[in-house]
Amino acid sequence: MRNLALIALALTAQPALADRIFVTNERGNSISVLDGDSLEVIHTIDGLQRPRGITASHDGKVIYVCASDDNLVRVYDAATFEELPSLPSGPDPELFVLDPVGDRLFIANEDDNLVTVVDVNTRQVLAEVPVGVEPEGMGVSPDGKIVVNTSETTNMAHMIDTTTYEIVGNILVDGRPRYAEYTPDGQTLFVSAEIGGTVSVIDVPSQTVTHKITFDVPGLLPEALQPVGMRITEDGTKLYVALGPANRVAVIDVASDEVTDYLLVGQRVWQMAFSPDGSRLYTANGNSNDVSVIDTATDTVTESVQVGQQPWGLVVVPTP
């Protein structure tokens, strides 16, 4: 009887995603937690001031959030949603990146022109690296040796050595760079420029811009095309670029640096996150207060669901 039940279970069981999606609501001062299957909000974490950047430990058990107006990185248990001791972040943390080992957070302090390095285990500040004006975008090379920070006003990508905490290179890109993303082989770096309306393709060994990807959506003014968040697929073939007020996500073929498609999502699409299996890409849409779901196999938008006020970023972890 028990075997029968097990067989029935095995037969009926869908390849369940069983993910949890954590969305920071910048104006709602909260985090919405969604079930990846039902796409329903199953929990709301309150009590943060202006949460923006969000990421998870590599095992998916701990959620880190840049609480910009708390001047802290707030930490939560992904299973119980309970708050864990906060991490220092320096003033006005906006976006951060966890190194591949999972020990150190590299945090951009928008107001102080610094990148603060914090050990997540000892909760100590390891270093403060002075960078350009209004640092925002953070990216880490796959080998963890270099962290890239983009400064919105200096219009540069700063390459920071993660052992010496020294800047080893500066690359000039277009206006208001927002985000940096490496290819999985670490040879190419993409930097999005919000005002410039481009994504710079940077050859990492020579630290030179080899190409600039531009965008064109019929019927939209060029100034509405503002590349912000970016995510590259695990196999490194496709790059997704959120185009902010254009309400589109551009799909870029990495081999040719060509835009292959524009996907219609909610208003002012900002940051994005893959599901752990890479089958879905979620987008945070700030002005329509929702999250859109993109099927990455077909590159179609399948659904959009309401979350809190002004969603900014998100992270997806397997359900514990």
Partner: protein, 266 residues
């Protein structure tokens, strides 16, 4: 029993012949919605706005929204076209040979209606095929589930056409039907804009559109194209079909209806 099928076969064959002999009619029926899809929708691609209306689960471009409305447009024009052919038949005397048939009048009218709808449904599928290449791609199952919705909507609009034809004496008056039936029905419906959009500008227009049978035919098709049933739209469309068809049968009865006491009808 075979007599019934012979009668139906005869009427259906005449309808199909009329259709295959007039290829330009088929093209015209296809070009009309395509012009709307390619030209009109192109200008409005991004204007639909923030709200997600069922059955859509996410934001859609205007050409995706307008496609079910254009399917409805094909059915509406087909319905009016069959009304035109009834008037034509009456003028040329072809209707006389139809109405002397021993079969009941409701059957003869119903056979004519059904045959016309089958032709119209073919036109809709041809349109959906072209729309697919225009990247209007509903789920595959939708192409199957939309069939009953198309038939029901087509029957309803065809019955309306027959009802109108019963009141028209001359072919020339058809232009009037175009102006006073097709255009208001099409524009004051959810075919071009969702109802909430109309409510923003005019509550009266919203109420008119909500009462318009064509709105419910379009919504029935819209939901069915995404594999869903809209029970309210289905019920209203069915009710309108029954009312329009019953009225048609009444009007075409020489002993009652409009023909009573008038000369030179059929």
């Amino acid at each position: 029993m075979t007599g019934w099928s012979i009668a139906f076969g005869g009427i259906a064959r005449r309808e199909l012949l009329r259709f295959t002999r007039q290829r330009e009619r088929f093209l015209a029926a296809l070009v009309r919605p395509l012009v709307w899809l390619f030209i009109f929708a192109a200008g409005f691609r991004s204007v639909l706005g923030v709200s997600i209306v069922p059955p859509y689960k996410t934001y859609v471009l205007y050409d995706v929204y307008v496609t079910p409305g254009l399917c409805g447009m094909i059915l509406l024009f087909a319905g009016m076209q069959s009304s035109l052919s009834m008037v034509y038949d009456r003028e040329t005397g072809a209707m006389r040979s139809l109405l002397v048939s021993p079969y009941p009048r409701w059957f003869l009218l119903g056979a004519k209606l059904t045959a016309a709808v089958l032709v119209a449904v073919l036109q809709v599928y041809a349109f959906l095929l072209i729309a697919w290449f225009w990247e209007v791609r509903p789920p595959v199952i939708g192409y199957l589930t939309v069939l009953p919705a198309l038939i029901l909507s087509g029957l309803m609009l065809g019955a309306l056409g027959l009802l109108i034809s019963s009141g028209i004496r001359q072919l020339e008056n058809f232009a009037g039907v175009m102006n006073f039936v097709i255009f208001p029905m099409f524009f004051a419906s959810s075919a071009l804009y969702p109802l909430w959009r109309m409510q923003e500008s005019s509550t009266l227009l919203h109420d008119i559109a909500a009462a318009n049978p064509f709105t419910h035919a379009v919504e029935l098709v819209r939901f069915a194209l995404y594999g869903q049933l809209n029970p309210a739209a289905a019920a209203i469309t069915l009710l309108c079909l029954i009312v329009f068809f019953a009225a048609t049968v009444f009007m075409y009865d020489p002993a009652k209806g409009l023909w009573r006491g008038k000369k030179g009808g059929a």
